[in-house]
Symmetry: C2
């Protein structure tokens, strides 16, 4: 590791922490159109005041992509994909601290979006800032691509990438997220799942009714329950005909990587206070299901009276929000069609389907130079070897931004197994944040060196 | 009808309307412990200032029963059962006027609880007030029994009735509710369904999780959906073994009354904007299901993210609130046990069951003197013959307060088929309110005369 860069990072720890605290104070919930402009202004301020490079806000039809290209004299490029939007903070009553006031407790900072994804965004910006303090000439072109719609399904990113294929092109991409396992190993993730997010809703009468009418007036809540119950059985098998048809099973190489991958069952059980995993799985079967199998999950369900005590009402509306995590081979648009066909065939034409987002799965080979650079950096600079995850259970627009354009993408970041992404009391450890800044700086140098020494033909050689 | 009483009622219309408006301003939502004391104070005020009789608040373990015994010199007694609590007002966004400010629009008054049950309570009190203005000596003992927990299942009323059997005893009871049909006929209801109200809930981990974990962490929302789907099939048949075993089918006499009973399918379809009834039923089959069959209704269901847009979360809790309306023969405590056994046998021991209330069904024979008095009063004093309903689809503690003690009970009241009980924009027509005051006064006199002329042995002869 470059000791000069490392010492600049150490000197600037308080500054970088303050960037993060200020960023987390902005409630940039894209789903609710809150704090989005303010986030862009804040990024503008960081680039103007500290990084001293241009940042542009590229229209997308939704929230803009904040984009910066920091040029160097070499014909290679590394890109960073992050997002400035966050998940909604509810259920707010389960937070121990205000979600939009980053609060430090026992070496951790708590705030909505701090792990997903503001901590990573700021750490990577800090790494480039520190490198430029030591040498204004970077060893490689650097591109920042900050999306504003990741938490609402990146609906406009595919078209953005198509339209600005030159801007997104790079020799390797560092993806937005990353976690430290319960056993302290840093995960290096080489793929993401795809997704379909839908809302299923049904409406019967034009008003809620006294529940005495449940004898003869149809119930939207029952319609929805019956429809949902046809989608997945109690053994967690998805029942939509054709759903599994296109799944590409993991390769031998991936299954072998899976046996190296650690999922700490005991720590997760204790942390979550659960007695068992789905279908009582453990070991390799549990890991295989977690990383390589698709899901059909109920994110939310709502109908009628949800308050204290009892209210005898026949609701007139019901809805459920579902996400399906998809694996390589599955086409989200085909899945949507299969779902609609299935509902129709089961007699649920009255159930309306609203699509909130679709994404393909993506995967990067562990022999890619960027993957090697990340793995070496972690191996040489930390005490614990990395945990190489051939495919993460999470989702992101990696296919649309990278795989589709031949760009390998690798994930590692500031989170940990108890970061509570998308949940109350989201947090990161400050030492992980500072370490990530150092590791990113090292990866950037190492990747540049590898590209040069191997004389790779750049994906994107122009400056 | 006693013309002197009628003219006193006419003179006092504005006063009685003001009583009602003031009463509706009190948000007496028992389920949420709001405005309950204030309601009792208001009743005290009406009795002190206008009725000039004693009212006492009898402890029950929950909210007190407000009780008044207005004595006369004859050995017969009529009782009125009403309740001063109301349903919660949510979803408040669907109200066109503030739910706790009675608002007059086109001859209707809109407010939470105005049809269920404050309109009836005030009208009956007004009838007795008016009768006393004409003759301070009433033709029969009058008892008012005003409960504060009807909307939360009357949990303490059975024990109250047992403990105060002398206080509740009467020769006939006028029950709390009543509606005018779409064709303008006043319903005279001779029975109520029973009820079981339960909340089914399930909890898995100790926090909501990123939905990527849905591969391996159990979902409470799915557990609940699967459990619910075992309770009732898509043909509305309840699947709990033994559920229908004790149902006493309607007698020939009741089926014959059913053919007289009007349910205006067209008006209800238009009003609710629905295209069909459950199972496409119509005619006598529809009426039979409505009045004589039990239900299993989802009053509310809740899990995870219910806001705008998308949130990819694996919720850690889910619950549903269910009411079962029961018919004569069904024992609510047995039904609870059957439900628990069924869930256990289907593999849902993890689903917790909280009981909010149980009630038996009750029914009064149309030949009872009070039933005759009500039917005659309506027939002689209104333009449209009554619609005699052998059993209403609604529920109330009629068994515990009346049938168990041999007291016949008859319902008629100020509501109409579009009163939106338990729903937004609850309302009554002012002309129905004023008419009910007159009719009640006539029923009281007529019932007293019938008892005397037939020389009935009173249930409760002491004064």
């Amino acid at each position: 590791m470059n000791e000069s860069v490392k010492s600049v990072i150490k000197e600037n720890q308080e500054l970088y922490k303050q960037w993060l605290i200020d960023f987390c104070a902005i409630p940039s919930v894209a789903a609710q159109n809150r704090g989005m402009d303010e986030s862009l202004k804040f990024l503008q301020h960081l680039f103007d005041t500290y990084v001293k490079e241009d940042i542009e806000f590229i229209p997308t039809g939704g929230y803009p992509v904040a984009y910066s290209h920091i040029k160097s004299k070499v014909p290679y490029t590394i890109s960073f994909y992050n997002h400035y939007d966050v998940q909604p903070e509810d259920p707010i009553e389960l937070w121990n601290t205000p979600p939009f006031e980053a609060t430090e407790i026992d070496g951790k900072l708590y705030a909505r979006g701090i792990a997903d994804n503001k901590g990573n965004l700021i750490a990577r910006l800090a790494a480039i800032h520190a490198m430029k303090q030591v040498n204004p000439e970077l060893p490689i072109n650097v591109k920042f691509i900050f999306e504003g719609e990741e938490e609402i399904g990146s609906v406009n990113l595919p078209a953005f990438a198509e339209k600005h294929a030159d801007k997104i092109q790079s020799d390797g991409n560092i993806w937005e997220f990353g976690y430290r396992d319960a056993d302290d190993r840093l995960q290096v993730s080489l793929g993401v799942k795809g997704m379909v997010y839908v809302e299923l809703s049904v409406e019967v009468a034009n008003t809620d009714l006294h529940s005495a009418n449940a004898t003869i007036i149809e119930s939207p809540a029952w319609r929805l329950v019956w429809a949902l119950s046809t989608l997945k059985d109690q053994n967690d098998r998805i029942l939509i005909p054709g759903f599994y048809d296109d799944v590409i099973p993991p390769t031998e190489e991936e299954m072998s990587a899976l046996s190296q991958y650690l999922y700490d069952e005991k720590a997760n059980k204790e942390y979550l206070e659960i007695s068992r995993f789905v279908n009582n799985l453990s070991g390799i079967d549990l890991k295989r299901k977690h990383l390589f199998e698709p899901t059909c999950n109920i994110c939310g369900i709502d109908s009628g009276y949800k308050g204290e005590g009892s209210k005898t009402v026949l609701p007139h509306k019901a809805f459920a929000k579902l996400d399906f995590r998809l694996v390589p081979g599955q086409d989200p648009n085909k899945i949507l069609q299969l779902l609609r066909n299935h509902l129709d065939e089961k007699g649920f034409k009255d159930i309306e389907m609203k699509v909130f987002g679709t994404e393909f799965a993506a995967r990067t080979h562990p022999n890619e130079l960027l993957a090697k650079a990340v793995i070496e950096t972690i191996t040489e600079n930390t005490d614990v070897p990395p945990n190489i995850v051939p495919n993460t259970p999470g989702t992101g627009p990696m296919y649309d931004l990278c795989q589709r354009y031949g760009i390998p993408s690798v994930s590692f970041g500031v989170g940990n197994f108890a970061s509570n992404n998308h949940a109350p009391n989201e947090n990161i450890r400050l030492i992980d944040f500072y370490e990530h800044i150092e590791l990113v700086a090292d990866v950037v140098e190492r990747f540049a060196n590898k590209l040069q020494s191997e004389g790779v033909d750049s994906n994107y050689a122009t400056n």
